[in-house]
C-alpha cells in the first residue's frame, strides 16, 4: 500500500512536465495581465450578482416559508409545489428558462444581464432559502407562539417580534452556506449573454482561456473564488459551533 503510494508520487513528480504545466496554467505575465480587470470587473460582478440574487432570494424565500407554514391550505400547497419544483430542477435549466424561455413565452424583456441573472438566481435560491427559514421557524418552541398570542399579539405581530428574531439566530449558519452556494452558482450566468461590463469571474476566465489558449485566466479566477468562499465557509462553521455552545 505504502509502496504503491510512493510509486504514484514518483510518477507524478517525474512523469509530469512541470515547466509546461506552469506555462499553460500559471504563466506569470498572463497572471499579471488579468489584473486589475479580474477584480474591478469580474469579481465585482460576481459579488453584485450574489448580492442581488441573495437579497431577492431572501425576500422570496421568506414569503414562501411563511406560506408553507400558513394555516391556509392553498398557500401551503403552492409553497410546497414551488420548493419541490425548483429544488428538483437543475439551476442551469431554470436560469436559461428565465433568461430566454420566459421572455419569449410572455413577450416581456427582463432588462440587462444584471436583471436577468439576478432574478434567475433569486428564484433558484429562494426555494432553498425558504426551506432553511422554515426549519428555523419550526425550531422555535411552540410555547413561544402561544405565549405571544396569549398576550394578545396577532399572528403577524408574534411572527415578526417573537418568532422570526429567534428563528434568524438559528438560521444564520445554514444561511451562510446558502450564500456560498449562491456565490458559486453565479458562474451559471456565464452561459447567458453578457456584455464585457457584466462578465463575472467564470465568464471572464473562460474568455481569457479562449483568447490566450492558456488556462491561466481560469486558474486566477478560481483562486479569487476561493478567496471569497473559504472565509465564508469558515465563518459559517464558526457560527454553527458558537450557536451550539450557547444553547
Amino acid at each position: 500500500m505504502y509502496a504503491a503510494t510512493a510509486a504514484v508520487a514518483l510518477i507524478v513528480v517525474f512523469g509530469i512536465d512541470w515547466a509546461r504545466l506552469q506555462d499553460k496554467m500559471l504563466r506569470p505575465d498572463l497572471v499579471a495581465d488579468q489584473f486589475p480587470e479580474i477584480v474591478t470587473q469580474a469579481a465585482k460582478n460576481t459579488l453584485i450578482f450574489t448580492a442581488f440574487g441573495f437579497s431577492g432570494g431572501l425576500a422570496l424565500g421568506l414569503v414562501v416559508a411563511l406560506m408553507r407554514l400558513s394555516p391556509s391550505r392553498p398557500y401551503r400547497w403552492f409553497a410546497a409545489v414551488y420548493t419541490d419544483v425548483l429544488r428538483g430542477l437543475p439551476a442551469l435549466l431554470v436560469l436559461i428558462f428565465i433568461a430566454f424561455g420566459l421572455p419569449i413565452a410572455l413577450d416581456v424583456r427582463i432588462p440587462g444581464t444584471y436583471g436577468r441573472g439576478s432574478l434567475a438566481l433569486a428564484i433558484v435560491s429562494s426555494a432553498y432559502i425558504a426551506e432553511v427559514i422554515r426549519a428555523g421557524i419550526e425550531a422555535v418552541p411552540r410555547g413561544q407562539m402561544e405565549a405571544a398570542r396569549s398576550l394578545g399579539m396577532s399572528y403577524p405581530q408574534a411572527m415578526r417580534r417573537i418568532i422570526l428574531p429567534q428563528a434568524f439566530r438559528i438560521i444564520i449558519p445554514p444561511m451562510t452556506n446558502e450564500l456560498v452556494l449562491l456565490l458559486k452558482d453565479t458562474a451559471l450566468i456565464s452561459v447567458i449573454g453578457v456584455t464585457p461590463a457584466t462578465k463575472e469571474l467564470t465568464r471572464f476566465g473562460r474568455d481569457g482561456v479562449n483568447e490566450n489558449a492558456n488556462a491561466t485566466p481560469l486558474v486566477v479566477a478560481g483562486l479569487l473564488y476561493l478567496v471569497l468562499t473559504i472565509p465564508m465557509t469558515r465563518l459559517a462553521g464558526y457560527l454553527e459551533r458558537r450557536a451550539k455552545v450557547s444553547r
Partner: protein, 260 residues
C-alpha cells in the same frame, strides 16, 4: 360573588356578571373527546383551583378560555363578551386574560424588561415610558426589579416564572389563568412562585388555577373543581372537596396525591 349585598336595581350589570362563564363546553381532538360538557362560572375576584388526574382535560379547559384551543361546541364568555362568537376580536380578548405556562415561555431573545414591555407596546399601543413604568411596577410586585436588564436564561426557574407572571400582569388583565405554574420547578423554588400567586389572590385577582399543589388549593382557593374524563366530577369550597369529598373518584385522586 355577593349580588345580594347590593339592593336590587342599583347594581351595574358589569359588576354582577361572572368574570368567566363556560357553557356546555366540548373539545375533541379527532376522535379523542377531551372536554365533554363543562359548565363553570368564575365570579370576579374568585380563585378557582382545578384538580384532576393527568389527561383529564385541565390544560385544554384553560386553553379554551382564551381560545388557544377552539372549542368544538359550547360557549365561553369573558365578562359580557362571548369569546366563541364568530365576530369576536380574539386578540383583544387574549390581551384581557393573562396566562402563565408550566414552561414559563419567556422570550429568550429579549431582556426581562423587554419581555414585559413588548406586548404593551405592540398590542396596547402604549408609549415607551408608560410601558417601562408599568413593567417596573410589575417586576417590583414579584420582587425582581433588579433583574430588569437580564436575559431569561440567566434566571432561575422560579425567577423566570415570576417574570412570566409579571409579564401577564403588565397587560392589566381582568383574570389570570395558571397552568401548573410550579410543576416544572425544583422543589425549593416552588414556594416563591406560590407566594406571588397567593398575594395576587389576596389583592382580588380573578384566578383559574390548574395545580397539583393541594396545600395551595386548600389555603388560597375559594372553590376547588375536581375534573376527570373531561367532566367536572365535583366542586365546592376546599374545606369540603379536599377534606370530605363526596365522589369516590375524588377520594381516590386525593389519596394518591397525598400519598406521594
Amino acid at each position: 360573588m355577593s349580588a345580594n349585598a347590593t339592593p336590587e336595581g342599583t347594581t351595574a350589570e358589569g359588576d354582577t356578571l361572572p368574570a368567566v362563564r363556560l357553557r356546555g363546553l366540548h373539545k375533541a381532538f379527532g376522535q379523542n373527546e377531551v372536554l365533554r360538557g363543562i359548565d363553570l362560572d368564575i365570579a370576579r375576584g374568585e380563585v378557582v383551583c382545578i384538580l384532576g388526574p393527568s389527561g383529564s382535560g385541565k390544560s385544554t379547559l384553560l386553553r379554551c378560555v382564551n381560545l388557544l384551543e377552539t372549542p368544538t361546541a359550547g360557549q365561553v364568555f369573558i365578562g359580557d363578551t362571548e369569546v366563541t362568537a364568530p365576530d369576536t376580536d380574539i386578540d383583544w380578548i387574549r390581551a384581557r386574560i393573562g396566562m402563565v405556562f408550566q414552561q414559563f415561555n419567556l422570550f429568550p431573545h429579549l431582556t426581562v424588561e423587554e419581555n414585559l414591555t413588548i406586548a404593551q407596546r405592540v398590542v396596547l399601543g402604549r408609549g415607551g415610558a408608560e410601558a417601562t413604568d408599568t413593567a417596573l411596577a410589575m417586576l417590583r410586585r414579584v420582587g425582581l426589579e433588579e433583574k430588569r436588564g437580564e436575559y431569561p436564561a440567566r434566571l432561575s426557574g422560579g425567577q423566570q416564572q415570576r417574570v412570566a407572571i409579571a409579564r401577564a400582569l403588565s397587560m392589566g388583565p381582568e383574570a389570570m389563568l395558571f397552568d401548573e405554574a410550579t410543576s416544572a420547578l425544583d422543589p425549593e423554588l416552588v414556594g416563591e412562585v406560590l407566594d406571588v400567586m397567593r398575594e395576587l389572590a389576596e389583592e382580588g385577582m380573578t384566578m383559574l388555577v390548574v395545580t397539583h399543589e393541594i396545600g395551595f388549593a386548600r389555603e388560597v382557593a375559594d372553590r376547588v373543581v375536581f375534573m376527570d374524563g373531561g367532566v367536572i366530577v365535583e366542586q365546592g369550597p376546599p374545606s369540603e372537596v379536599l377534606v370530605a369529598p363526596r365522589e369516590e373518584r375524588t377520594q381516590r385522586f386525593l389519596q394518591r396525591v397525598l400519598d406521594r
